[in-house]
Symmetry: D2
Subunit: 274 residues, 4 copies
């Protein structure tokens, strides 16, 4: 580990939950769920209600979408953020949403409870500094090509600006294997737990790229000691404008949540004995 990663290292600061509107990330197992992109108000609010009823504690949804092609759907922008705000009013769920441009940080912060830094921007240092100054909790995704060491250095950029509310999110790395979209690096959970006091969650949807893999990977994340999940759920995956293959339907998500809650109790007991 780079000796310059000081603030994120374990021991520098007490492990403590990060508070987001009453939800404590880093205490218990927190599930964030919602659509990949905000597409319209109806779809978003229906999904928000569905994930809330199934037991999710936060809502995810993209208003700005980083897309490989300039001609792919880029998100609804401000209109999307307003829809997320409506969904929050409806359900009470705090909102996690991505910000891609340092110029957008201040006004996006008015709509978001957690600012998400996407995998492609993990080393967008201008953006990291800006969210570091925002005062908002940040969810920092690991780059699909980044080592754990680089990831923690990127977290350090945010803490160095005075913002200590960083949630790490492993979302799969790029390898030669083609059966999955990316390879979920489950080992990152215990490695990160050993090195830093920051909470770490898993995004099984982007890692796997196929809905059928999400339940197994979610349970594995919980068993490995992760602090939570971020899962893509869509009321009608076949009609989704992005990531349709990896989104769970509400009934699938609901079934997964039941399994998670049953497993969670045993895992907590197991870890309490350590």
């Amino acid at each position: 580990m780079n000796e310059n990663v000081e603030l994120v290292l374990k021991g520098k600061e007490k492990r403590r939950p990060i508070e987001v509107d009453g939800v404590k990330v880093g205490q218990g197992f927190v599930v964030i769920a919602g659509p990949c992109s905000v597409e319209d108000e109806k779809q978003t609010i229906e999904t928000a209600i569905a994930v809330k009823n199934a037991g999710a504690q936060m809502l995810r949804g993209g208003a700005f979408k980083p897309r490989t092609s300039p001609y792919a759907f880029q998100g609804l922008g401000l209109k999307g953020l307003k829809i997320l705000k409506r969904a929050k009013e409806e359900t009470g769920l705090p909102v996690v949403t991505e910000v891609m441009d340092p110029r957008d940080v201040s006004w996006v912060s008015e709509y978001a409870d957690v600012l998400q830094i996407g995998a492609r921007n993990m080393q967008n240092f201008s953006l990291l500094k800006e969210v570091g100054r925002s005062g908002k909790p940040v969810l920092l995704k690991r780059g699909m090509h980044s080592t754990i060491d680089e990831w923690l250095n990127s977290a350090e950029y945010i803490l160095a600006e005075g913002n200590h509310d960083v949630i790490l999110c492993e979302r799969g790395i790029r390898t030669f294997e083609k059966a999955t979209r990316n390879t979920l690096d489950i080992s990152a959970v215990p490695v990160v737990k050993k090195l830093t006091h920051l909470p770490v969650i898993i995004d099984p949807s982007h890692a796997a790229g196929h809905a059928y893999l999400v339940p197994s990977l979610s349970l594995a994340a919980l068993a490995a000691g992760a602090d939570g999940l971020m899962v893509e759920v869509h009321v009608n995956p076949d009609a989704a404008l992005s990531d349709r293959e990896q989104s769970l339907r509400p009934d699938e998500f609901s079934k997964l949540m039941e399994k998670i809650r049953r497993l969670e109790e045993v895992i907590r007991n197991i870890h309490d004995r350590d």
Copy 2:
């Protein structure tokens, strides 16, 4: 998936446990444990007794070791196999051991209950054919550079010779990440479960390369739906001739087994509801 992988595909044959001297791989969660290499009789038998007492159902141990350097310890060969036989007499645990050379298959089969094909030999097709004709159950490790598709094709080589008793073992793939020796591809478990009727287990020790990661990865494997584990345990890891950094001490293994058995029950209930 390659259309030529016929015998290993789900639906061709009923999922059924593979019987090894009374142990049923593919029914419940089977734990195989033991030293990386057989180094001497005392060390091996002590370890065998320790893992047996902790609840392991099979003993692993290498008499032939595939080593990067020609000058590294290459294993005790026949002497090592005899020690494994003694350990089996002492504990009743069936023995899993690696075979590296097609010329050794027939006589190694007299000492082994399961023939292991190591990661470096996953595409040693002469060896695959030979173990396919041996009549012995085979534990086929995934190559550290191999896709799941290639792995199943290698299993097909064994089944095509008439031997249907193949246990798949994921042991980590090679990526750019350096915090772990390899990257455990936990997603391989549900992918393989979807494609084939063969049981699949996880080797967290070789994947992680560090003992402290083994418990988390073992619980993750169980939660993800794996049929078992293969774990390195050594009575005195610091003195081990190979893989010292990744071997558990008997007391650590014992603690892990307790956690596994507690988790196993819940996982079984969860999956029974599917």
Copy 3:
């Protein structure tokens, strides 16, 4: 290839050199050289004169440095850009320099002849759009974990904003091999030449990470059909604030340029016969 990559595809536009202050990139073999970072005026101008004398046609130098750690030297910023301007006045060499933040594009453009997008920002879509609107030639480095398809999509972002002066730069991809810092993907040259009309150059310094490898890789790039090179040269590599191991000394660079010019003629004849 993604069907949406329209503007960069061969056939949409005639292959034509990109003019940068009299230098034609895409005609002959253009060599860009200079220090990794601009550290002070003396070092920069001495290096600029040295590379000019050796035959380089453009000067490279970083005023903004994307660094893994927030505590590493981040570049001199505006002061660095002013030094580069001085170096250009001294030598007549047009200047290539990196821009990392969309808010900096307009004012950095006053100092730069070519705006460089670094590997970590290849999918910083806000930045791509901004340089697409800048009217300045852009040097787009391939991400160290990006496919050629994604790279061309990122170029498309720039062309789609109306800026067709994009120079592609391969700088090594991330693999498991450790003898080099990255793995130079030399095949990217003929692949890109087949797909697009845009010129492609090679950065052997960042790919290799060791100065001793730069000459061989430079000659290989020329033989493979690349349109040029970007090479790190420093008057005193041992004192460099970044990338000291991979920078050539002026005498080494001079020797390399002699080899390049001799080889260039034969290569041109060989390709003319195609």
Copy 4:
């Protein structure tokens, strides 16, 4: 570099060409060409004559083919070796052919001038020891997943048995890039040249997986300092039983050889000045 790699390290032995029936590998630029598989006598002898006329110095051709699927064409075996012998009688070209099983080494040696170890068998240590005892020159391909350090360790296995006639062959490594079958690691040439006295050649056909890329990569290999090439040529690529997409037709190969011979002279002059 592993300290145990003694015999292959530079300085232990003088760099000297490896003699194969009058051809000196490691002196000048040696081109080995021929079909992927020996399919029948007519195809093989026609191809052998064609590559001989174009200037190739050795003939390659597989009688034993390591194939991912057990149901794919596995080669003609002994019949194939006899055809290769006939082709040698016809053309005088020494024959390079793969051996996959330690039990075959002694009798295959009667038909082969150089024994090839394929990428999948680079760490088949039983096979390495056997060819180490064979007295025949060995062409050792780098595993598609192997570091340079591991590759040199595998060479050391052969030298340690008393056989010092080892030719290294880089054939591409496995990465995330999909535009090529594998990623040719051109940097391996100067790295290996720095570390060892053994000659190193390039196989652009397997690396690229597409015939259109072979000429550029061949010239790059020569410019980077490689000692030769191994190229797939087939009189009728469309009818080939394996690797049809990457084989050159004889006229394409002939054109490539002309370019190589023209470039070779300049490269020799350039390197003589070092």
